[in-house]
Structures are given as structure tokens and as C-alpha cells.
Symmetry: C2
Subunit: 219 residues, 2 copies
């Protein structure tokens, strides 16, 4: 399991190193791992504290309560998703459609590498999200919108055409569903066992390419 949390070279914040070193970061990382192992349903604040080598009351100083911790994890995850989208886009090269395909691949790769947090990000919120969470989520969304703009020849920042709006909904749904089905093991019948990654990297670009063509080249 790889981390999307930046492991800080020295200190994330000067105030964070009083006793533990950087407990806030340690708790976020332990949470991401625990989510990957047990899912949101199996998540527990005490277990996270245990894994960080700290008493069960310690996390409260940083996150208030268990929902505060999960919200912070989801916020970090959205930032990491945005980074994965940008990375995928860059790999697409210069062509606008290829860049959008790359972005979609980045979306699915992120979900497959960080299944626990991915599930958390998109669960229905029990309580109102923090401004930081909303900002991080919208940041990722805007990347997709911009990618669709480029493909439809809409200048950056300008309003989307109705057709482009359908494009956003279509491509987001496609990558999101692909990601969800892949991490739920629903593609295991299509891919040879143990080679899901390879199957995804063959199938997903073809799927995205066809969808983009259908959206843009419509009669």
C-alpha cells in the first residue's frame, strides 16, 4: 500500500512536533490504511490510535471526534485525486482527447491504489462538510470540466455548452463506475485472474476514447 499523504521532510507545522513528532499526519496515514483494510464500516478511532501507538483520547486533540478525522482523510484524498488527474493528463501529451483519456486513467488508478479513502470520499455525508473538504472536492471536479472544455473547443473558464455538460456527466460517470466496479472485483470475470491492472490499462482507454468520440462527433 502506497501513501498519497506527503511524508514531510522535517515538519509539516512547527507546532505539530511537541510530543509525538507529527501525530496529526500519523493518524491520517493510519486511517487511510485502516480504511483500505476494513472499509468505512469497520473503521474505528481506537484502532487508529492503537496503530499510531497512542492513547485512545489523543486523536481528539487534533480532529475533535471520529467524524472530524474521517473528514480530514477525505479532504486529503480529494487533493491526492486531483494530483493523480493532473499526472494522467500530462501523460496524455498534446492532443486534447488523449489528455482527457489520461485524466480518466488517473481517476481509476487513484481509486485502485487508495480504495479505502476513495470509498470514503464518495459516501453520502452524514454531516455537513468542512469548507476545506468542499474546496478540495471542487478542485478535482474543475479539472475534469477543463478537460472537457478543451475537447469541445470551449475557451478556459467559459460556460459549458449543453452538449459539454452532458460530456462532463458522461465521463465522470464512466470513470467513476469503472473505478467502483474494478475495486469491487466485478471485472474479475473479464480479466484473467491476477492481471486486473493490465486489463484495465487496455480496456479503459478504449472505453474512454469511444465515449469521447461519441460525445464530440455526434450527428
Amino acid at each position: 500500500m502506497r501513501h498519497f499523504m506527503k511524508t514531510p521532510p522535517s515538519l509539516a507545522s512547527p507546532r505539530a512536533a511537541y510530543h509525538h513528532g507529527d501525530l496529526r499526519r500519523a493518524l491520517l496515514e493510519a486511517s487511510a490504511l485502516l480504511l483500505a483494510e476494513r472499509g468505512v464500516a469497520g473503521f474505528s478511532l481506537r484502532e487508529v490510535a492503537r496503530r499510531a501507538g497512542v492513547s485512545p483520547a489523543a486523536p481528539a486533540h487534533h480532529f475533535g471526534d471520529v467524524d472530524g478525522l474521517l473528514l480530514a482523510v477525505a479532504t486529503e484524498a480529494f487533493k491526492a485525486l486531483a494530483a493523480s488527474l493532473r499526472d494522467g493528463e500530462r501523460r496524455g501529451g498534446a492532443d486534447a482527447r488523449a489528455r482527457l483519456v489520461g485524466q480518466g486513467v488517473g481517476y481509476v488508478r487513484f481509486a485502485m491504489r487508495h480504495e479505502g479513502p476513495f470509498r470514503l470520499m464518495f459516501r453520502k455525508g452524514d454531516r455537513p462538510a468542512s469548507p476545506e473538504f468542499v474546496c478540495a472536492a471542487e478542485g478535482a471536479y474543475r479539472l475534469l470540466e477543463d478537460g472537457v472544455r478543451a475537447v469541445f473547443g470551449i475557451i478556459p473558464g467559459a460556460e459549458l455548452t449543453p452538449r459539454a455538460r452532458i460530456g462532463v456527466a458522461t465521463l465522470w460517470s464512466l470513470v467513476h463506475g469503472f473505478a467502483d466496479l474494478a475495486i469491487s472485483g466485478r471485472f474479475s470475470a473479464m480479466a484473467e485472474p491476477g492481471s486486473l491492472d493490465r486489463w484495465v490499462s487496455r480496456t479503459l482507454p478504449a472505453a474512454l476514447g469511444a465515449a469521447i468520440d461519441g460525445l464530440v462527433d455526434a450527428r
Copy 2:
């Protein structure tokens, strides 16, 4: 909240009516409602028993333990999903593409009406599924495959071409992602508040149509 469980005219099984009437069915229905309200994470066997007006130990006689109950709920839900797919397909009329679009609409409609069970169906299984569950899930999957066959002009039951295989993955991902995002409230920024249903019924067929065109009419 509407039920997808058939409410039996008299008795589902002659043995089911000893004391309660049909406790098995009552527990399945209470479970679907509770899942819709609280999700898998907030699900509890005791609460289901409470709502069915029965002692906490009663469900064990029908389902063994809590996982047995959830598995039975998921199995019923897959059967109901298949029915919704068939219904949507029929509404598509005679044209193969329109029928496939209709099937996709049926998929999303089911998810929006039965959010709790839908989430349950596609969660990663903690334990091996029952043969009944696998059968129900594969039944729904085969409907989609047949719909794609018709669109690609492949005779029923024949093996899928590579391109058709990509088509299955694409369309399943598209409707699944659309459904998940819709019930998670992620489309609320696109649809006018309170009219998600209307937005879906305008956007989803357009998205599906474009994707199918891109898949079939590819250069």
C-alpha cells in the same frame, strides 16, 4: 420508499406462517428500509428485529447471522435489478440501441429507488457469496451482455467480439457510475435542486446514446 420485495398475496411458503405470519419476508423488508436510512455501516440486526416487532434472537432462525440476512437482501435486490432492466428494455421499443438505453435507465432508476440495497449489492464481500447470490447477480449481468450483443449484431448466446467486450465494460461502468454519483448527491450542482429525477431522465439517455454511438460506429 417503495418495496421491490413481492408482498405475498397469502403465503410465500406454507411453513413460513407458524407464528408471525411471514417473518422471513418481514425481516427482508425491514432490512431494505433500514439500509436505505442508515447504510450498511449503520445497519444492525437488533434494529431490524425491533422494527419487525420481534425479539433480537428471532432472525437467527431464518438467516443464521447478520451476514446471512444481508446476503439474502442482496440476492433479492439483484433479482429486482434484473426486473428493472427488463422493464427499461421493454420501454425502449424495437430498436436495439433504444432498448439498450432503456436498460441503462432501468439500472439507474433501480439504484435511485433502492439506494440502500444497491450500495449493499456492490460492496466488497467480506465472506463468500451463496450460490443463490451468484446466480442472481449473473442473471442481471447477462441481460446487459445480451443487450450489447443485439446492438453489435451478434447472435444471442454467441461469444462476444473484443469490441463488444469493451462495450459491456463501458456501458456497465457508465450506468453504475451515474447511479452512484446520483445517489451520493454529486450531481446536485448540475441539476436544479429538487429535480434530480428530471435532470437524470434528460441527461442519462443522451449520455448512453453518445457512448453507444461511439462504441458501435467507431472508425
